[in-house]
């Protein structure tokens, strides 16, 4: 009796597992079009991205459920424009990285399938889901691993959230410092260039008058 329940629930679970990626947000991209997403994150933050691709079938007039042989190239750049991940994945992929420098990380996806015949329709549907920081934690898994009670799990979740807030605040302090430095540099530049330009103006004015005076004197006009 219990066996039957386990089998049926497994079936149900697999059904939902299959359905769940298709329920993510999706968009369309062209053949060799590159789509980039920016994630501004503090350091030591984990990012998990999952995608699923579907190819437009011209004959059927709809998107195929899955196309083997279709690949997506994922490229991730850190704030210093250094590539930290550059890999080719299949039609369904999962990529993960942890940031080591705070700042804007760029996640770029493009398909570079060699089988050009596949792109008869030229449209590719990409389901994408990017989770950052504490959203990457799988709480039921953590509960099972560390054998936590419900209350302990809730507190663990709160701790993770607070840690994320703390990291973000710390990063905010660093960004505000950069902002302040930029503003002060602008202030300095405006000040010095104003003085320099006034000086240049006066000097050129004096030079002009003296030059013209000597010129007219030479021409015996004055």
């Amino acid at each position: 009796m219990e066996m039957k329940a386990v089998v049926s629930s497994t079936g149900l679970m697999l059904l939902f597992a299959w359905l769940s990626p298709s329920q993510a947000l999706y968009f369309h991209i062209g053949e060799t079009e590159k789509k980039c997403f920016i994630e501004e994150i503090p350091d030591e933050t984990m990012v998990i991205g999952r995608y699923r691709t579907q190819l437009w079938d011209k004959q059927a007039g709809s998107f195929l459920p899955s196309t083997p042989g279709l690949g997506m190239h994922v490229e991730i750049k850190d704030p210093d424009a250094k590539i930290i991940l550059s890999r080719q994945y299949g039609s369904d992929g999962r990529f993960t990285f942890t940031s080591h420098t705070p700042g804007e990380h760029q996640i770029c996806l493009h398909s570079n399938s060699t089988k050009m015949a596949l792109f008869a329709g030229g449209k590719l549907r990409v389901h994408l889901d990017i989770q950052v920081g504490e959203h990457t934690n799988n709480y039921p898994e953590i509960a099972a691993k560390d054998k936590l009670t419900e209350l302990q799990l809730r507190v663990r979740q709160l701790l993770d959230q607070v840690e994320q807030i703390q990291k973000e605040q710390n990063y905010q302090r660093y960004r505000e410092e950069r902002f302040r430095m930029t503003s002060e540099s602008t202030n300095q530049r405006v000040l010095w260039w104003s003085i320099a330009q006034t000086f240049i103006l006066i000097i050129t004015g004096i030079w002009q008058m003296r030059h013209l005076k000597s010129f007219f004197e030479a021409k015996k006009l004055v």
């Binding site: 219990e2 329940a5 629930s9 149900l12 679970m13 939902f16 597992a17 359905l19 769940s20 990626p21 298709s22 329920q23 993510a24 947000l25 999706y26 968009f27 369309h28 789509k35 997403f37 920016i38 501004e40 994408l128 889901d129 990017i130 799988n138 039921p140 898994e141 099972a144 419900e150 209350l151 799990l153 809730r154 507190v155 979740q157 709160l158 959230q161 607070v162 807030i165 973000e168 605040q169 905010q172 960004r175 505000e176 902002f179 930029t182 540099s185 602008t186 530049r189 260039w193 330009q197 240049i200 103006l201 050129t204 004015g205 002009q208 030059h211 010129f215 021409k219 015996k220 006009l221």
Partner: protein, 209 residues
């Protein structure tokens, strides 16, 4: 054992309740659309903010599966829109930068579908939450809104910083440019005046005599 099994698998059943937040670049004269399949009766929220670019505005449009426009705003900097799905199907929302000729924009959006999945889905929960648990729940909700505000603050700061850096570069270039133009103009003035008087080689009449 079965209960544990269901407990571990339950989150997979809640796969369609999710929040997607993305920041992407919208080139000039471009339009980017996103689609999501939503079931009827789900409460959804779409929030967007323009981070960098031009006048920090973008057109946004949200359509339901029938094509009815639920939300349409032109040249908006930031907005938040909540709606309940009136029918099953694919909802589409688009961001357009077609009115801009050369500035590309960075747009952040957060599309929340449904509520968060329960942390510890307990199918046969008979008792209400204890005080500790409900305190944890309210702290969790408060922290979620703190994180949300923090995100918006971060975006505004990014916007301010991008403007400041733009200003800094512009001040540098224009100062150098202006100094150069000043020198060029003053020298040309003198040369031009000299050229007026150089032609009259024979006449050396005194001016103002």
């Amino acid at each position: 054992m079965l209960a544990w099994f269901l407990l571990l698998c339950a989150p997979l059943m809640f796969g369609w309740i999710r929040a997607s937040e993305l920041t992407f670049e919208l080139p000039d004269n471009a339009k980017q659309c996103f689609y999501e399949d939503i079931t009827i009766g789900t409460k959804c929220t779409l929030e967007f903010q323009v981070v960098t670019g031009g006048h920090y505005d973008v057109d946004c449009r949200l359509e339901d599966p029938d094509g009815t426009v639920l939300y349409k705003e032109m040249k908006k900097q930031y907005d938040s829109f909540t709606f309940t799905a009136s029918r099953n199907g694919t909802f589409k929302f688009c961001f357009s930068n077609e009115f801009s000729t050369f500035t590309h924009k960075t747009v952040y959006f957060d599309f929340q579908v449904g509520d968060d999945p329960p942390l510890f889905p307990n199918e046969n929960r008979v008792t209400a939450l204890t005080q500790m648990e409900s305190a944890c729940v309210s702290i969790h909700e408060a922290l979620k809104s703190v994180i949300d505000y923090q995100t918006h603050f971060r975006l505004r700061e990014a916007q301010g910083r991008s403007r400041a850096e733009d200003l800094n570069t512009r001040v540098a270039f224009w100062s150098i440019g202006e100094a150069f133009i000043l020198l060029v103009v003053s020298i040309s003035q003198v040369l031009l005046l000299r050229s007026f008087f150089s032609d009259k080689k024979t006449t050396t009449t005194r001016v103002g005599s």
